[in-house]
């Protein structure tokens, strides 16, 4: 097991000081702003501005493809839309740059919403092909719709933006683009540490966990598309003014592929990935132009080497090299987490449990009847077990209560609300939490961040507040993190709150899932085999945990094979067998029922199994 008390030497004190990172970023920002003064060449300045523009596109694409997991091959086309709208408005209609850029951004965002529509229905691979087709259509329109776009000759003489009657020079354009890049980077960083970041990653890594946490997939995906496209459209506006001439040749399919290469090899789904990728795959090759024909060969070899040796892109490789360096210098691989600034432990309020009333539930999968007119009542505030042989329909029943499947017939009422036909996210928001047979956590996020995902629907700070990290967003974030740590402590993971969920042992991942469900303050908690794979000690703790959850007033429905646990914590047991209710009643009565013993428990009586 890992040794937790690594001695902290002088090197560790320096490395763990938060000012180290802040100073590095400040130096970088100063360097960027000073660059035009020391560039001493129009070419370098031009290149610098272009990097800024490409970086915007890469950040937009990273949001969509890296974080949200929707591979797009049409960001070149979105760039074209932003550029053409700006160019046409300024050149042909005499608009000033600013409204033209805004309209360009809005129209590109609209195009983003349009390509989002198929993404709700198709898998990621199909989606990539659809975006490719979209890029082809846009490319075709740039040529065929000559009355608007001037076809092959393109739009010529796009004016620089101007302010106070003065047209920008190249250095001023650079500063403007750099400022927008930095602002965009900061807002992106804020979004990613807030609920949107967790939501996007949930969409990418585990849609089921996202839905169970009350996230509306449609709305969040649409949001990612629109933001990503808007940023790309804004980049397009600057692209047009920087080039002064744009033609359809500037936006071939290669451009879209180039951006995907930048994001993936830079480090997809990592904040610095887009920046590192843009520098590595745009600037470096430009600077190598003197090598002429060798350039492409070197470029190709570098791409291959990266794919082989840096599976998480440049950003991932640098992060892991940094961890190794820290270890070599005698520090822990990751900086120690900030001490919790929790405003006291949040009090866990009692809730009013939800009653469940199921009548005549029928579900067929193909020719198999998974549930055959099952009726079942769960009293508010009770702990109710559903047991039965494998394949008897227990998990199917849970999946229908929380809306993952729609029953063919029958009704499910939670308190007095009929939920058949409601969306999963809608049912979750009524106060239904659940855990899964195989824990569905987001492996790259910490236990705390995973728990925080469970409160997605409860957060109130608006998009703008989160992007600007306004006081309300900051307060909410701190309160939520404190709550997450509290609930992780409640389930017994108090010591592992900052560990990556994927590194937790299986049994503890289950507990983290329970914490994620609890933070949403459920009134009904559905647990799917929480005890599978737990040791005896852990079983005892789980039993105590479930009892204390019930003490909060929460109704608990548990599917479980550990009969001693069931007998210990439940007042009612329902036995399912091949989709029908075989027996129900108190544990004592049910586990003594000969039919249950024959179908489910086998020859070992409970007393012996529970010894």
């Amino acid at each position: 097991m890992s040794d937790r008390t690594i001695p902290r030497g002088g090197a560790a004190r320096v490395l763990d000081n938060p000012w180290l990172g802040r100073t590095a970023i400040l130096v970088l920002a100063v360097a960027i702003y000073v660059f035009p003064l020391i560039a001493h060449s129009d070419y370098r300045l031009y290149l610098g501005t272009q990097v800024g523009i490409y970086l915007l596109v890469a950040m937009g694409l990273n949001l969509l493809s890296g974080y949200t997991g929707q591979p797009s091959l049409c960001h070149g086309a979105l760039l074209a839309i932003g550029a053409y709208v700006t160019a046409i408005a300024t050149v042909d209609h005499g608009w000033s740059f600013w409204p033209a850029a805004l309209v360009g951004m809005a129209i590109t965002a609209g195009a983003g919403a349009l390509i989002a529509l198929p993404a709700f229905r198709v898998s990621a691979w199909y989606f990539a092909l659809i975006t490719l087709a979209f890029a082809e259509v846009v490319g075709g329109m740039l040529i065929e719709w000559g009355g608007l776009t001037h076809s092959f000759s393109g739009v010529v003489g796009i004016p620089m933006p101007s302010a106070f009657g003065q047209s920008f020079n190249a250095a001023q354009l650079f500063w403007l683009v750099a400022t927008i890049d930095i602002a965009c980077f900061i807002m992106m960083a804020n979004m990613m540490r807030g609920r949107f970041g967790r939501g996007f990653i949930a969409l990418r890594d585990n849609e089921i966990a996202a839905r169970a946490s009350g996230i509306s997939l449609v709305r969040l995906k649409m949001f990612a598309f629109v933001v990503s496209a808007a940023v790309t459209g804004l980049a397009g506006a600057f692209y047009a003014v920087q080039k002064t001439v744009i033609t359809p040749d500037d936006f071939t399919a290669d451009v879209s592929i180039f951006f995907l290469v930048v994001v993936v090899l830079g480090g997809s789904g990592r904040l610095w990935g887009a920046a590192l990728g843009t520098v590595a795959f745009f600037v470096v090759p430009e600077l190598l132009t003197s090598l002429q024909a060798w350039r492409l060969l070197i470029y190709g070899v570098v791409l291959l080497a990266l794919m082989l040796f840096a599976p998480h892109g440049l950003a991932g490789a640098i992060a892991s090299a940094w961890r190794s360096l820290r270890v070599a210098l005698g520090a822990s691989p990751r900086p120690p987490p900030p001490l919790a600034t929790a405003p006291g432990a949040p009090t866990v309020q009692k809730v009013r449990g939800m009653a469940v009333s199921i009548a005549g539930l029928l579900k067929r999968f193909g020719g198999v009847t998974a549930l055959d007119r099952v009726s079942l009542k769960v009293e508010a505030g009770s702990v109710h077990a559903i047991v039965g042989p494998n394949g008897s329909g227990k998990t199917t029943l849970l999946n229908m209560i929380c809306g993952f499947f729609r029953p063919d017939e029958g009704s499910i009422r939670l308190d007095d609300v009929e939920v058949v036909g409601r969306s999963t996210a809608g049912i979750a928001r009524l106060g239904v939490g659940r855990t899964f047979q195989t824990p569905k956590l987001l492996p790259e996020l910490t236990a705390t961040e995973n728990a925080m995902l469970g409160a997605f629907a409860a957060e109130r700070a608006s998009t703008i507040e989160v992007a600007l990290w306004a006081p309300r967003a900051r307060r909410e974030h701190a309160a939520l993190a404190a709550q997450a740590e509290h609930f992780l402590g409640f389930v017994g993971l108090g010591e592992r709150v900052h560990e990556q969920a994927g590194e937790l042992p299986h049994g503890q991942q289950r507990l983290a899932e329970i914490a994620r469900a609890l933070i949403g303050r459920p009134r009904l908690l559905l647990l799917d085999e929480p005890a599978a794979g737990l040791s005896l000690t852990e079983l005892d703790k789980l039993g105590a945990l479930i009892r204390s959850i019930a003490d909060l007033g929460v109704t608990v429905v548990i599917v479980e094979h550990h009969l001693e646990l069931v007998a210990d914590i439940c007042r009612h047991v329902t036995v399912l067998d091949r989709g029908t209710v075989l027996a129900e009643g108190t544990p004592d009565a049910v586990f003594a029922d000969p039919a249950v013993i024959a179908a489910y428990m086998g020859a070992r009586p409970l007393a012996e199994a529970a010894s």
């Binding site: 000690t537 005892d540 086998g602």
Partner: protein, 242 residues
Amino acid sequence: MTALLQVEAIDVGYGHVGVLENVSLTVDQGSIVALVGSNGAGKSTLLRAISGLLRPRRGRIVFAGTDLAGAPPNRVVDAGILHVAEGRRLFRQQSVDDNLELGLYGARIARSNVAARYARVFELFPVLAERRRSRAGVLSGGQQQMLAIAQALMREPRLLMLDEPSLGLAPIIVDQVLEVLLRLRDGGTTILLVEQMVERALEIADFGFVLQNGRLIGQGPAAELARSDIVTSAYVGAKQHN
């Protein structure tokens, strides 16, 4: 009895984290050996090291006279060690038959013997014979576990390693699975069993090893271990047996 597998003083870890330290154990030919310990003790890690999925930092893994430490998994399988991992890792979209056939992937056996192999696993697991054409993904949990074991048995392993075969199974199915393990042992297969249901595991095992925090803290004949305090102490604050 002769030792089939000897693990000698291995250290195993992931990245910067060490998991197993100086672990040695011996599995005798034709026995069932149970490996018990609380979650996170390193049981699955030990199986992964033996099957070549993890490379030990130190130590030897001698199987039938050959040191396999650091050998790639395919060589370990060829040597006759089959690992049924936790959580029924099947080809869910493939039929039962296809899953069984994939169990023979790369095995050098005569065509004429293949039918006999099928017959043997169907004899052990009659329920699979009834569902040969079903996709593995639609089988019940118990049937999937049986299929996972059957897939390994297609190769007629000399050592079968099982990681938590009872996970998520109804009690009556657990009985059936353990029953099959006893029959396999009686047929000459050596079994290394990792199981959270300690008592059930020690009931069918001949010998047991107890792991705690990556170290071996006890070993002995299974019946003795079941009665001793070592197992209880491996689960700190473990339930008092009544």
